[in-house]
Amino acid sequence: MSQPTAQQSPTQRGAEDKTPLKTGLSVPNFINPFLPPIFITLILLVGNLSFGILESYSKTLLAIATAIGMEMALGRIFLRKWPHPASSYITGISVGILLRSPAFWPYALCSALSITSKYALRFRGRHIWNPSNFGICTMLILASQAVAGLSIQWGNNLASLLVIWVLGSVIVWRAKRFHVTFTYVVCFIALSFLRAHITGDPWQSEISPITGPMYQLFIFFMITDPKTTVRSRLGRCLVAVAIAVLEFFFRLDSSIYAPLYALFWVGPAALLIQMMIDSRRARASLAPAASGAETVQI
């Protein structure tokens, strides 16, 4: 575990990720750092004004304020500068959407855990967990008496579904992450039919989750997070497949939050594998020179 740095080497961050947001529920930034926060805020406002998707504004505001406050404090301490608030804003808003609790404290705690995980759980200068995925999974496991995940919201109707899917697709397309979403969705649907075959349940019930809001956020804004995905296009597709496959097994075990837990395990594992490969490549690229120097010495 090492201290976070303001600048990271190309081996630490994807070459395609020019300005990644260090968030959990992250919208890849391709035009303007304020665009993702604006977009997700619009989703939130439209959803809440149309359907009252939030427990309350105050809880979401608490999650956002906590996330920004923690980011500012920790960024000041570790990076010695004031971090851009867009990243923590999106983390906070994602907590506000994805977490459900009648109490206030889980929202603050989840945001705090999400942000702090970025600074505490690091490997070779890089945080390896998607922050809000880490925060929400941790809350679901440790505070199950007080919280639940987003599983039922947003009117469940076709109009809201289409809007989210179209806008989400446009955004991940522009951010060059559509292949991740597409791969995951194809795998999920294929594995849904396999699960239906195994369990004997209607296939519609297996497909059903992906038509819900949790998955809409998950497939567009969480598994595409540039900060916590691997660098190569093929690698990202393989990671999406791995998430879908692990989720498949979690679902066979009746895990309600299967996709979140699958990402929780696959995401860091994929990054560690990439780091390991990068490290070997780096050593391999240095080896001839070292060998040559040794030859000279001889």
């Binding site: 575990m1 201290q3 359907f51 009252g52 939030l54 427990e55 309350s56 920790l74 301490i77 570790f78 459900r100 609790s101 009648p102 109490a103 404290w105 705690l109 705090a112 855990l113 702090t116 995980s117 600074y119 505490a120 759980l121 941790t138 809350m139 679901l140 440790l142 505070a143 199950s144 008496q145 007080a146 919280v147 639940a148 599983s151 039922i152 919201q153 009117g155 469940n156 109707n157 076709l158 579904l161 369990t199 004997g200 349940d201 209607p202 519609q204 019930s205 297996e206 497909i207 059903s208 989750p209 038509t211 819900g212 809001p213 949790m214 009746s254 895990s255 309600i256």
Partner: protein, 593 residues
Amino acid sequence: MKKSSIARVLVILLFAALLAVPWMVRHFSAPAKTASGPDAHAALARYGFSLKEVSHASGIDFVHQAPTLDPKLDGIMPEVASMGASVSIVDYNRDGWPDIYVTNSAIGSKNHLYRNNHDGTFTDVAEQMGIADVNRPGTGVSMGAVWGDYDNDGYEDLFLIKWGKPELFHNDHGKHFTRVTDQAGFPPWINANTAVWFDYDHDGKLDLFVGGYYPEDVDLWHLRDTRMMPNSFEYANNGGRKYLFHNLGNGHFEEVSAKAGISSRRWALACAAADLSGTGYPDLFVANDYGVSELFINDHGHFHEAGKEAGVGFAPKSGMNVSFGDIFDQGKLSIYVSNISEEDVLIQGNNLWVPEAGPALKYVNMARDLGVELGGWSFGAQFGDFNNDGNLDLYLANGYISLDRHRSYWYDFSKVAGGNSSIIGDAANWPAFNGRSLSGYQQKRLWLNDGDGKFVDVAQAVGATDTYDGRAVALADLWNTGALDIIVANQRGPLLIYKNTVAPGNEWIEFSLEGTRSNRSAIGAQITLYWDGKEQLQQVSGGNGFASQNDRRVHFGLGKNPKIEKAVIHWPSGIVQTLDNLTPDRLYTVKEP
């Protein structure tokens, strides 16, 4: 040590501390709950009362039978047939002793009217009274019953809430009941779970609100197709319509909901009426499954929905109960709405809507603060002073479907409930239950109000130990002892009677009201009792809780050596009556002046 190393250590410590917070919250702020099992003597000494389940000893061995609907629903029959157990209290023969009416819900099953024999036992007289055989093929089955003297002849009449043909029975002076449905002019079919008698226009005659659940064009025994489920788990708007039957006074009722401003297709499960806005007219609170609650404010006979403005209609949940209680002894009614809470899956939390100070009708949810938020898959609840200490306590029935203890349907439930309307709305898309439970075998809650802003669950300690699938709860002083007994109707389970024994010392007073200018049942009359510097507001109800109705007699606990100042009765007619020189431990029969 370098500054960066110190900072690193600090952030790791901070992270560890944050991870420990959930454990600390669980450990230090767990809901107040007693650990001990039932011990009558200990409960009397510690809590001032104890309960004993006496249904069998009282001659009641009723077990509710659930409906069996169209075979197309076989896979999820436990879920779609999960309601119908109800209980309502009525003194049908005016002998001064509360009787009990319970519904059954299988085709061909009989409802029961248990006449109070005054000696601790009851006798089922439903058959001879003509209100037993009401679940005949082709007419649907019973879901609940509410009693009110719609023709002001002094005897309580019966409205039967059904998934099917709603029925009205006239009480012929306590000797028999006559079916008067056709004369009343009710529609041929309503799939309802809730109704309430109230005089919404203050004309002295009881009107009737009926809240539809499934749409009225659905015959659950002969389905056209399986697309009859809610189109959303939280925003469903394809439920049954609502009815407001205006009592025309000649045995006829006119349906006036649209004219009166009530229009909704939400899935109503519970309703109750009380003057919450201070206009003198009864407002209507409806708790909806799969959506937000609705508060219909009554502006002199015309309603407008004000749930959002009042703060109660914002967050959609699974409303299953409406009960009113002046829990702070301030002369203001709070509203308890039950919802679903299942650890790790769905934490809706029950709502305790407490009125805020100020001119506007605004409520704040204080269920968490007061400790009455989490009650499992909650259904019926009632406020009552069980230990006569002067503070209203709360009993909650819960538990949804208790089948195989070790296999849960929750995963499959959540899988479909979060899906698109075309999936959730079609029963064919729901995985089969296959004998699994869904929030089953839950412990009941009896929250004792400490009078200081906290409720403590003492259910296990005082003897409310059953784990049946609780639905309806009704309160009555069944044996005229000055103690509120608890009667619980369980789905596919026995009717339970928890006989209440209160420790000597705490005193009580009860009122039995009879209207003259107001409806004779005095439904809607509010009594405010002033004693020892406190004031407590209660009202005569025409149906409340979930599929239940308490005794029309109003019971107040007074604590030790009370000094009663007065009781003020606000009759529905607008007459205000003040009673002085009241003595504790008595039942007062009061006629509207």
